[in-house]
């Protein structure tokens, strides 16, 4: 109670109201997902569903290719994480620990060009991907997004603080450059790798604009596209839509609960999202 007194009660109440407002859309999604369908058409809906219809969630799996969409999204996200994190770590390491001609120019060029939102180059990117025959494939979604600025930038920052002596010691012991990277640098970079994995996975899971352009066949849709498809129905089934929204958000919320520390750190360090 002493703590409450040291902080104005009015401010605490305002923040508590703010928290309530921020949490309410997620609550309403849950409440709608588990409601009987007839109940959503009430002019004054009850705060709590009259009974919990868990079968709404099951119905989403049987009536739509939800499992397929989840599998597509997971495949894309996992492969994208593996490639993106690996090549970004290597690239950021080179920028942090080697001197070579053109390094700073190249770093600036990559970073500034990578700040281009993909929305700006949708047309040429679409044409490039279609030349390679990658339309309606997972690779068409994955490859264009692998050279992430975020990863290169964060890796360089992190590795600048690794002591050069460790790398020198490795060289004196006769280790090859790739061995040094693999045996010495990467084991020291675990916290960094965790941040990169979490963010890359989250971005690829949540992507919409780019998959929308590349994947036009419903069997190849990501979960976000599936959600958009259900919402676009002229006679929308809101409990089903909210159930699918719940299914699409659940893995992200789990990651958020488990890795909040890394996510906060990633955002605070780079200001990128």
């Amino acid at each position: 109670m002493a703590r409450i007194r040291s902080f104005p009660l009015v401010a605490w109440l305002l923040l508590a109201c703010g928290t309530l407002v921020m949490a309410s859309p997620i609550y309403w999604m849950l409440a709608t997902a588990l409601r009987p369908r007839a109940e959503v058409f009430a002019a004054q809906p009850s705060l709590w569903p009259s009974r919990l219809v868990w079968s709404n969630i099951g119905a989403v799996f049987t009536q739509y290719p939800t499992l397929q969409w989840l599998a597509n999204t997971a495949t894309i996200a996992v492969i994208a994480v593996a490639i993106t994190v690996t090549i970004n770590l290597a690239c950021g390491y080179a920028f942090a620990k080697f001197r070579f001609p053109g390094r700073d120019v190249l770093f600036f060029l990559i970073l500034s060009a990578l700040m281009i939102p993909i929305q700006v180059i949708l047309v040429p990117e679409f044409l490039v991907v279609s030349w390679f025959g990658l339309l309606n494939t997972n690779w068409g979604v994955i490859l264009p997004r692998c050279a992430e600025a975020f990863g290169i930038f964060m890796t360089r920052q992190f590795m600048l603080s690794l002591p050069d002596e460790l790398i020198e010691a490795g060289r004196l012991d006769g280790a090859g450059e790739l061995q040094i990277f693999w045996r010495i640098v990467l084991p020291l970079s675990r916290p960094l790798i965790a941040v990169l994995v979490v963010f890359t996975f989250m971005w690829r899971w949540n992507d919409f604009a780019w998959p929308l352009v590349v994947l036009t066949d419903q069997q190849h849709f990501t979960i976000q596209q599936g959600l958009n498809l259900l919402k676009g129905d002229p006679n929308p089934n809101w409990p089903h839509i909210m159930s699918l929204a719940l299914i699409s958000i659940a893995p992200m919320l789990a990651i958020f609960v488990a890795c909040q520390r890394f996510i906060v750190q990633g955002v605070a360090n780079t200001g990128l999202k």
């Binding site: 902080f7 281009i116 929305q119 700006v120 180059i121 990117e125 050279a147 958000i249 955002v267």
Partner: protein, 285 residues
């Protein structure tokens, strides 16, 4: 040797970023649809931009969207950060709830918001009615659709701003506040003379990030309104998308993409210069 480490990244970067950017400029100089012939058009696509009323509408709506969403998310983010930087019961929990939307996709946000804002069965209208106010046609009236999008954006962005501000607040030495308190400064005076100026770099960073985000907003608009009703929420990226993938006008769409890129770039440079000047002025003063 370092080139081996850079090569994979550089290859994908050149293929899927640098080349498309240059290619966009090339396409923008042509009449280009996906099936027929392409022909050189010079700057025709760019002069069409100037005379296309829908381009100006889309530009105006993009700026209105940014003008509404950016200052509000910065202000609310700062308020939440200053509040939740104090010791109080439940602070960790409240921070988590504010920050949570950062992991939620634009599509899921848009779908949930569409349901909350639904004209007939949405909970927001039900609450308005219960409070004795009249219902609002949020997403189906041209005057309310853009505000609905802005409100939804706030839900998505406030926590992000809060985290950046919290990090900045935590780097302010406690001794500043102690000294001010000894000098008899009120809480408001402490905010005006210590917190506000020392948060300026964070505000500046957030301003750039959020403006760029607003300029290329797409997921929310596409899913919630599709640019409508009418063209009342057609922002630039939505218009580019329609041109490219609905009416197959690749040349004109590319020209508009380049224009949008120029806008983002110009704004970044402008902000950067302004930020530097104010830092110099502060250092000199």
């Amino acid at each position: 040797m370092p080139y081996i480490f850079i090569a994979p990244n550089l290859l994908l970067f050149s293929l899927f970023m640098l080349f498309p950017l240059c290619y966009a400029m090339f396409i923008s100089l042509h009449d280009w649809d996906l099936v027929g012939d392409t022909s050189f058009a010079g700057l025709a696509n760019y002069s069409r931009l100037v005379t296309d009323p829908l381009f100006w509408t889309a530009l105006r709506q993009t700026l209105l969207y940014a003008g509404g969403a950016v200052p509000a998310s910065l202000a609310l983010g700062m308020l939440a950060a200053v509040g939740l930087n104090q010791r109080m019961p439940g602070r960790i929990f409240m921070r988590s709830i504010f920050f949570m939307p950062v992991v939620v996709s634009g599509v899921a946000t848009a779908v949930i918001a569409s349901w909350l804002f639904n004209d007939n069965y949405g909970v927001i209208n039900a609450l308005l009615e219960r409070a004795g106010l009249s219902r609002v046609n949020w997403l189906s009236s041209p005057s309310w659709a853009l505000p609905s999008l802005i409100i939804t954006t706030l839900w998505l962005r406030v926590g992000f701003c809060m985290i950046i501000y919290l990090a900045a607040l935590q780097s302010i030495p406690r001794t500043y506040y102690e000294a001010a308190r000894i000098d008899g400064a009120s809480a408001l005076q402490q905010f005006i003379h210590i917190t506000w100026p020392l948060l300026r770099p964070a505000t500046f960073l957030l301003l750039i990030i959020n403006v760029i985000y607003s300029f290329h907003v797409f997921d929310l608009v596409f899913v919630m309104t599709g640019g409508g009703p009418g063209f009342s929420t057609t922002v630039l990226v939505q218009y580019i998308f329609n041109l490219a993938f609905a009416s197959s006008e690749m040349g004109y769409a590319s020209a508009m993409g380049i224009a949008l890129y120029a806008l983002i770039l110009a704004f970044t440079v402008l902000q950067w210069l302004a930020g530097r000047r104010s830092e110099v002025a502060m250092g000199g003063g």
